[in-house]
């Protein structure tokens, strides 16, 4: 007598789906070791020009005018933290948002949709695998930055920073669910992901403090979860502000997360139903 997964309780079955999807994606990742090494190391090269630009423009490692706006005169750790947190946006938005599209291209979406399971759990499995891989890459980049740029990292800040990273990931899950929903219906979600990536890159304080933007752009920036995550993490790591003193930013991040997750689940279920009715699941 063999027991299939469908005979188990609903929760167990759903967890099994999440676990299987997670394992599948991790197998994909480890099947290409060069790609793995690339993401663990190469993003550092993308922010090196900003560090060199800083040295050319101010002639040292600190800028008093930068300190007036950013709260810290040291621009190198500011840039490093911005780049590492932004790497979560790159992997989660493009990774999860386009995962549905990837299943279409691989010819496996029909089978995924025919499986007797809630598709949201498939996406949760994809999102968790992307988060784990993003965290591995971010940790590697952080370790390299500590060695190369002398980034000061103490154990005391690791826990609150990890907590904020989880909150950021939750918000990005919601957004990537919206993108997956768009991908189901309109197939080419790439442009939407790219455009959202642009908005994050320009309006969030990834490379510069949000205060340097015009006031209307600051309003846009304050609707983005990455903005709050960056403000909090820089506050903890660079200025030494305790997490409890940044309760407003944490609260804002939680509110945005809740909204995005709700919108993501609602849109994905709606679009799934719509595509099933219209019979366009396997369309390219």
């Amino acid at each position: 007598m063999t027991q299939t997964v469908y005979e188990n309780s609903s929760l167990q079955s759903n967890l099994f789906v999440v676990w299987s999807e997670f394992k599948k994606n991790m197998k994909f990742l480890t099947a290409y070791p060069v790609i793995f090494v690339f993401w663990a190391v190469f993003p550092i090269f993308w922010f090196i020009p900003f560090i060199l630009q800083g040295q050319a423009f101010v002639g040292g490692l600190e800028s008093p005018s930068f300190g007036l706006v950013a709260g810290t005169e040291e621009y190198i750790p500011f840039i490093v933290i911005g780049a590492i947190l932004n790497s979560y946006v790159n992997t989660l938005l493009y990774g999860v948002g386009e995962s549905i599209r990837r299943e279409v291209l691989q010819g496996t979406l029909d089978y995924v949709f025919a499986a007797p399971t809630n598709k949201v759990f498939v996406l949760i499995g994809k999102a968790i695998s992307e988060s784990v891989s993003s965290t591995i890459f971010a940790t590697s980049q952080l370790a390299l930055s500590v060695v190369l740029f002398g980034l000061d990292l103490t154990l005391g800040v690791v826990l609150p920073v990890f907590f904020i990273v989880i909150l950021l990931i939750m918000g990005l899950y919601g957004l990537s669910l919206v993108l997956a929903a768009v991908s189901l219906m309109y197939k080419q979600s790439h442009d939407v992901s790219e455009t959202i990536g642009y908005v994050f890159y320009v309006f969030s304080p990834v490379r510069y403090p949000i205060e340097s933007l015009p006031s209307w752009a600051q309003v846009v920036g304050k609707l983005i979860p990455l903005t709050y995550a960056l403000i909090i993490v820089r506050g903890i790591m660079l200025i030494g502000t305790p997490l409890s003193e940044m309760y407003f930013e944490v609260l804002m991040l939680l509110i945005i997360d809740a909204f995005l997750i709700f919108a993501g689940f609602y849109m994905f279920n709606w679009m799934e139903d719509k595509t099933k009715r219209s019979g366009t699941i396997s369309h390219f």
Partner: protein
């Protein structure tokens, strides 16, 4: 008799060898490659518009970060290094090159790989035309496309920050730009050849792009780099081109490296184009011999 007539009907006159007719035919093939790429672009208008504004989006962080760092537009330290402290003019003249590096590394480098994804690479390989035509067709398309992006950057900078440039330097700067593009085409051909062998060639492209963007004096003068990196940057056409163009376009700019940029670029043109064509032909023969065209 009847059989011979039928064969004649099927016969197509293809010019070959080093003749004027063949050159015309190859140029036509390059042009058609360019037209095809534009048709694909216009088929996705949203994507086209996004790509048009992306040069501005990616330039903005360099500008805003630079302005916050120095607390204004003028950098004393930059002026001590290159004679001019105008950060906006310096970043703009440097950043316009980034898009053209992308032209060589991404557009040309991936032209063959893209055909493979579309499932049309074999069809292109059996046409009686040089395979390089496909790469060069994409080069024409992406140069025009990037030119439009650069115009967007210029308009944005001009209307947002204002830009003072030496008008009389535009013509020699364009000459330098043309030489740089020819050398970059050679570089792009090398990447295209590599993408035929290395199926995950985007890693090669991205690696080259990252290294070139660090070694080229885009947002900082060359003197900021360590000596070894400064010497290594001389093999990329963007380095002499940026120094030369800034010399002609920015008043008071003092080139960080003394030398004849025209001669440097002419040598790089010859070397990169010859090297590119040589590598492409070797790779082309190799992948056909090994039957690798269909492999993903």
């Amino acid at each position: 008799m009847e059989k011979t007539e039928k064969n004649k009907l099927r016969q197509i006159n293809c010019p070959s060898g080093y003749s004027w007719a063949n050159l015309k035919a190859e140029l036509r093939a390059i042009w058609e490659g360019n037209v095809k790429a534009w048709k694909i672009d216009f088929a996705y208008p949203v994507s086209f518009i996004r790509q048009l504004i992306s040069p501005v989006v990616f330039m903005l962080p360099y500008l805003l970060y630079g302005l916050v760092l120095i607390g204004g537009r003028y950098s004393e330290n930059l002026a001590s290094l290159v004679g001019t402290g105008d950060a906006v003019a310096f970043i703009f003249t440097g950043y316009i090159m980034m898009g053209f590096i992308g032209t060589a590394v991404w557009a040309m480098g991936f032209s063959m790989r893209r055909e493979q994804w579309f499932g049309t690479l074999e069809a292109i390989y059996v046409t009686p035309a040089s395979r390089l035509g496909q790469v060069l067709g994409m080069a024409v398309h992406s140069t025009i496309h990037q030119g439009m992006g650069t115009l967007m950057q210029f308009l944005f900078i001009y209307f947002t920050f204002g830009l003072t440039m030496n008008i009389s330097g535009i013509l020699p700067a364009l000459g330098i730009f043309a030489l740089m593009m020819f050398a970059l085409y050679g570089f792009g051909i090398v990447i295209a050849a590599l993408s035929l062998i290395l199926k995950e060639g985007w890693i090669v492209s991205d690696s080259f792009y990252s290294v070139m963007s660090i070694l080229s004096p885009v947002a900082y003068p060359l003197t900021v780099l360590p000596t070894l990196a400064q010497q290594a940057s001389a093999i990329f056409p963007t380095t002499p081109a940026l120094i030369g163009m800034r010399t002609f376009l920015i008043t008071d700019y003092v080139p960080e490296v003394v030398g004849n940029v025209f001669l440097h670029l002419v040598i790089l043109c010859g070397v990169w184009i010859l090297f590119g064509v040589f590598i492409f032909h070797i790779t082309d023969k190799y992948v056909r011999k090994k039957g690798m065209l269909k492999k993903f």
